[in-house]
């Protein structure tokens, strides 16, 4: 029997669907206990209503100064709440917000912490499953005491049942001013091509090795009537502009055909392309996680296969 608290996330007036996934997980592990959502912001009534469908209880923490996410203030109000309402498990999304305030909260609660969790087992204490090495290895870890804090990967706990709980006004507001200030949001960079609108994408990863090799992908994309995109390392190295990045921190694409060249398939990338209608992956590493999401795969050097593809497409076109 556990009290499982889920910290909801919202931005630009929208609730992150991961907040509901946290509640789905809470409802499966709570036993005779409760799933309790916490929603923090300036005006969170709408979110509280959405959350209450899947939560036994929703705690609203509303204040003028909570309009924008701030990890110091989130921690401040959550520590006030958890001073009175004792959690057994705190679930937080493994997002840009959750990876920031989650570990901080765990330290302040002096609670064991596991991040990027994809499985939770409560049959004998509390055990989590998570990946390491960018998806290549999985590890089961026991957390030796409660309360504990878990940040949870998106897209794993999508199935759930409605429990239709109550909404409670916590009456909590920040007890201090934050030393860190929100200034403004910056819009995504816009380039000449919107890859999210393309039917065919030739995507390159670290395996493309150098900026000068992008041409090869461009030529293939041209013959296929598609566009070139890239995974994080390609963008980090400046081989392609930021607006060509596929993944959680870039764009989500669903083309008719996604060709992954030399992309290992880290989760951050996969979340941005897994719903493509046809995925073919070429990678030298037979253990590359990309083969777990691709429909067809070939263990080969892209520099051997791509020239063959180009030649054959040229032949076909006459």
């Amino acid at each position: 029997m556990m009290r499982v608290f889920c910290i909801a996330e919202h931005r630009f007036g929208e609730l992150n669907p991961l907040s509901i996934e946290l509640l789905n997980l809470a409802n499966t592990i709570k036993g005779e206990g409760s799933s309790e959502a916490v929603v923090i912001g300036k005006d969170v009534g709408k979110f509280a209503t959405e959350l209450s469908k899947f939560a036994d209880k929703v705690w609203k923490i509303e204040d003028e100064n909570l309009e924008y996410y701030n990890p110091e203030l989130y921690n401040d109000v959550l520590m006030q709440l958890f001073g009175k309402e004792k959690p057994d498990v705190v679930l937080i999304g493994h997002t840009s917000q959750g990876t920031e305030f989650g570990p901080y909260l765990a330290a302040k609660l002096n609670a064991p912490l596991a991040t990027d969790v994809v499985g939770v087992d409560v049959t004998d204490g509390l055990k989590v499953s998570r990946f390491m090495f960018q998806g290549k290895i999985m590890v089961d870890v026991k957390l030796k005491s409660l309360p504990c804090v878990l940040t949870v990967r998106q897209g794993v706990f999508k199935e759930g049942v409605e429990v239709n709980g109550e909404i409670v006004d916590s009456g909590i507001s920040p007890s201090r001013e934050a030393s860190r200030k929100f200034v403004k949001y910056l819009e995504p960079e816009v380039g000449e091509v919107d890859i999210s609108q393309a039917d065919i994408i030739v995507a390159v990863g670290r395996g493309i090795e150098d900026a000068s090799n992008i041409e090869l992908a461009e030529e293939l994309a041209g013959l296929l009537g598609g566009v070139v995109a890239g995974s994080r390392p390609v963008i980090d190295n400046g081989w392609l502009p930021k607006d060509r990045q596929v993944g959680i921190s870039g764009k989500t694409v669903k083309p008719k055909f996604y060709l992954a060249l030399g992309i290992s398939g880290a989760f951050q990338h996969v979340m941005g392309m897994k719903d493509s209608e046809l995925i073919i992956a070429i990678n030298k590493d037979p253990e590359a996680p990309i083969f777990g999401v691709a429909h067809y795969g070939a263990v080969a050097d892209l520099f051997d296969v791509v020239p063959e593809l180009i030649e054959k497409l040229k032949e076909a076109k006459g």
Binding site: R11, P71, E72, S96, T99, E100, P103, Y104, K108, P112, A114, T115, K127, F131, M132, F133, K136, I137, M138, V139, D140, V141, K142, K144, S145, S179, R180, K181, F182, V183, Y185, L186, E187, P188, R232, P233, I235, D236, N237, I248, S249, G250, K256, L259, I279, A281, I282, F291, G292, V293, Y296, G297, A298, V299, V305, E308, L309, K312, L313, A316
Partner: protein, 247 residues
């Protein structure tokens, strides 16, 4: 600006990864270690700030085998290094705890770390240290500007968005990959690094709150594999595309 940088000596996820015979660890054979990729960006950022503002860059490493990474940071331009020969697999609390102790007499304006490690992918140590030191902090930083003792930074959100924030010093920032273009180590740098101080601090972390039960290869649904030489593979790909009316 005196800056402390946390740098992990970590196995490359692209190297050969096997499970050790105890089923609870990664087999060390086949692993290729280097500075954690995110920390490479952190040390570069620290050196750039120092070059502009002056001050000192101190790099801190945890692990009995971390010398190569500390030397690399010294060769890139860090002034001195602190090595904490404690070996931790997973528990970031233990790592943050020993770092806190090792830097307790350091005067710093900024602590920089990588957003995550390339092996464990926890995204924890930096933030835990900020909590233990009660420092203002921010993660996944994509740019840093320092003016009049105040930091203006941008941090990465989802979907290509970023947020701009302001922080006072001292504070702790974890940097996202791609924030800069890390320099290569020069021969001169390597020579100079030999004369720089590397101090070893012996510490014992408290008991871990985590216990690894099992390490294994994840069960994955595998793609249908296309066999043959490159020409054959290309041919099969074109057949698939033709069947779907894509060429």
């Amino acid at each position: 600006m005196n800056i402390i940088v946390l740098a992990k000596h970590a196995p490359d996820p692209e190297s050969e990864i096997n499970i050790a015979s105890d089923g609870k660890n990664v087999d060390q054979a086949g692993l290729v270690y280097d500075i954690n990729d995110w920390d490479r960006y952190a040390i570069e950022e620290a050196i750039r700030i120092k070059e502009e503002k002056g001050g000192e860059v101190v790099v801190v490493g945890v692990g009995s085998n971390c010398d190569d990474t500390l030397r690399k940071c010294l060769a890139m331009g860090a002034d001195r290094a602190i090595k904490i020969p404690v070996d931790v697999t997973l528990d970031a609390f233990q790592v943050a705890e020993v770092i806190k102790e090792a830097i307790k007499d350091e005067k710093f304006d900024l602590i920089l770390a990588g957003y995550m490690s390339q092996d464990v992918n926890n995204s924890q140590v930096g933030v835990l240290l900020a909590a233990m030191l009660d420092l203002p902090f921010a993660t996944a930083i994509t740019s840093i500007k320092i003016e009049n003792g105040k930091i203006t930074a941008t941090r990465e959100l989802e979907g290509g968005y970023q947020e701009e924030i302001e922080l006072p010093v001292p504070c702790l920032l974890t940097v996202q990959s791609g924030i800069n273009e890390p320099r290569y180590v020069s021969i001169m740098g390597i020579k100079r690094a030999k004369t720089k101080e590397m101090r070893e601090v012996t510490l014992t972390p408290s008991m871990s709150t985590l216990e690894i039960e099992k390490m294994y290869f994840p069960p994955v649904k595998k793609a249908e594999m296309l066999e043959g030489d490159p020409a054959k593979i290309a041919e099969k790909i074109i057949e698939i595309l033709k069947d779907r009316g894509l060429v």
